[in-house]
């Protein structure tokens, strides 16, 4: 009932509503499957965020207030990616290639005016990648979460944390399409839900247990 990371402590796991013509979004399907699970003595609470600039951060903030988690992992769908990719950095910029679910399409707008240009994830991203790979689940570090609603929520999360929820750690993971989505979109990689659920469970377990990240390269030359 007292300290951090004790029974009673909560992990918030968010996913998004479907977007871009899809009727399903693997990010929320994963979160829903893990809702109520216990991982490293934390209870997982899932939340569904709208795929809308602005409203997604409002919903995230409400979930933070309601559940007072110790750790937050936000999930989002990424076409064209093969693996569970752990994002390194959130940037203070919206630049939407397509409209969001409310029809808004911000271009080159700061997410939070006056806030820093970027925040690094405060999760042990290298250890999470290593933990996933050790279980035979493909994973890598990603250097960009894009400039759409995923990055928007990731930045909103990290800004919240920086503003005074500093005991709270947070980060973002992009996940591939589901097979049923890829079956309609040739040449898109995918992973089935079961392996992604197992992967997110593993990533959360590592994130909860590891405080000092591995020193192992996950960079790119460009």
């Amino acid at each position: 009932m007292t300290g951090s990371d004790t029974p009673g402590a909560v992990v918030l796991l968010t996913g998004f509503a479907p977007f871009d013509g899809e009727t399903i979004n693997p990010s929320f399907e994963i979160a829903r499957r893990l809702d109520g699970a216990t991982i490293a003595e934390h209870r997982v609470i899932a939340a569904k965020l709208p795929c809308e600039f602005g409203a997604a951060i409002v919903a995230l903030r409400e979930a933070l207030d309601a559940h007072r988690p110790r750790l937050v992992l936000a999930l989002g769908q990424a076409d064209g990616r093969c693996d569970l990719s752990i994002e390194r950095i959130a940037i203070n910029m919206d630049d939407a290639r397509i409209p969001d679910n409310a029809g808004r399409q911000p271009v080159d707008e700061a997410i939070v005016a006056g806030a820093p240009a970027a925040y690094f994830s405060t999760l042990p991203i290298k250890a999470m990648v290593a933990g996933l790979r050790a279980k035979g689940i493909p994973s890598s570090v990603s250097q960009s979460a894009g400039t759409y609603v995923c990055n928007h929520v990731f930045f909103g999360l990290m800004h919240e944390l920086a503003q005074g929820r500093q005991a709270l750690r947070g980060g973002f993971m992009h996940v591939p399409l589901l097979p049923e989505q890829a079956a309609r979109r040739p040449e898109q990689p995918c992973l089935p839900l079961e392996i992604m659920v197992e992967g997110v469970r593993t990533a959360l377990e590592v994130a909860l247990r590891v405080r000092v990240d591995l020193r192992e390269t996950g960079g790119r030359t460009a």
Copy 2:
């Protein structure tokens, strides 16, 4: 008990031994899982082929003689592919980028001297792709099986069929890496064994039931 496609009839499903430094080959893992299964009233018999030019066709021919199947589907592993890809054509050419498991590396050699330049698959490749997609399993037609041991076996199979086993139909499917392989090789797509087993089962079922292929594009401009 005798006629085609009756109980008692056999489907031969081949996979390869691991190659190129791998310790597992998804193609044979799939075949092994389906060994003994009944699909569309046919019994599946799995065979493992060596990843060796020449010897692979010898082993295939022995399996054809031993089991007298009604239909043959040969499977092979393809790095970099996202889906279950059904090959359209086998070409009469070995051109090995890397040595095979016996250390041989033929370059620009005919597989069967004097044989045709190529054979088309005699399986209903478009219907197989459509059947897989309908089950939410990513699949596409491929226009090239490469020039390594996979194409070698595919050509050897089709040449056997053309030589006098003409009641027998045959074809080839390339499959992606397994997640445990992709976990060691970043940026490679993969599919888990379960979905590939389900996919091959579906493809065989379609191949056994469909005699006239769908007229649905699966081509490429280049």
Copy 3:
């Protein structure tokens, strides 16, 4: 003045009309630039083929009759390719992903009923790749010319040769987009016209001088 490969001998170099919404096709731009050039004592004659199934082969046959070349190189545009890719094999199959310029979209139709399943290029494809690379021009062997009008013409050409123009050698090269095309289509590789012209000149020179191809791998595992 009469024999093969003497002054007076002709090389036919074909390119296509623009297609798929484009207003330019690099394949014909290259051919046009080399029209009238002398390469290895042969005069280059360029011909423009319509991007239409059927009509393209008719136009090719007319050019063969009119110019009685010693060697034919057909060129075609390939989105998504980075280099000058020399095709290994033409297959007897049309399967159009998009309609041609006349609105026709054949699916799984033989190009020439009763003809072989495929023909190999009779040009020294490995020596051509090596010659291009030696000049610093990116090039590779391609295992599939697709199933659209490019493969259609390539097959039509090789079938003509097999039918009684056997002194004549022929092959096909796919070329990337031009920069001005890629500037409108992000993430598409390209090469400028000048380097492609130089590359085709080099390829023709090698093709005219080399009769026995190099034994150097240009294959793919899948």
Copy 4:
């Protein structure tokens, strides 16, 4: 003789020494070709930076002190990219996948301890992309400059600017391989030097003339 952006004003254009086994680096070849040119009434001064963490920023700072430019564009080579890609953001993180030319391989180290997590380019990146495309030169906005020496220099530059050279504007452009490099590395896109020189000239001209960037999407969903 008087204010900024008059004759006498200088643009600093940097490129890197070759790295990763190469003997040439297109980034410095471009800079060298434009050294001494006049663009939008500014004189271009080229500088070569070592491909070394730390030393590259020292060399950049010396060039800034020596030439007191009005605008700085740093160039770097990027394998696998097709176009002139204008970087949006520099991040305060070194994570080297391979050692630099001095054998150093920092992993997850801040470039400048205590500095912000990131800086945005202060060049009009959308207008630069639009200007290049209008000239038929492929270009796009990039959301990540990687975590190697390129990003290192870009961050070092933007930090210098933020520290008190605020009249100075700066940014980074990644460029593809040269054809002669791609000829040795199959499946890598490239652009010839001439088009890249023309592209950088155009980009500098736009950067010097445009103060308020276009509002045009250049983002990615992930």
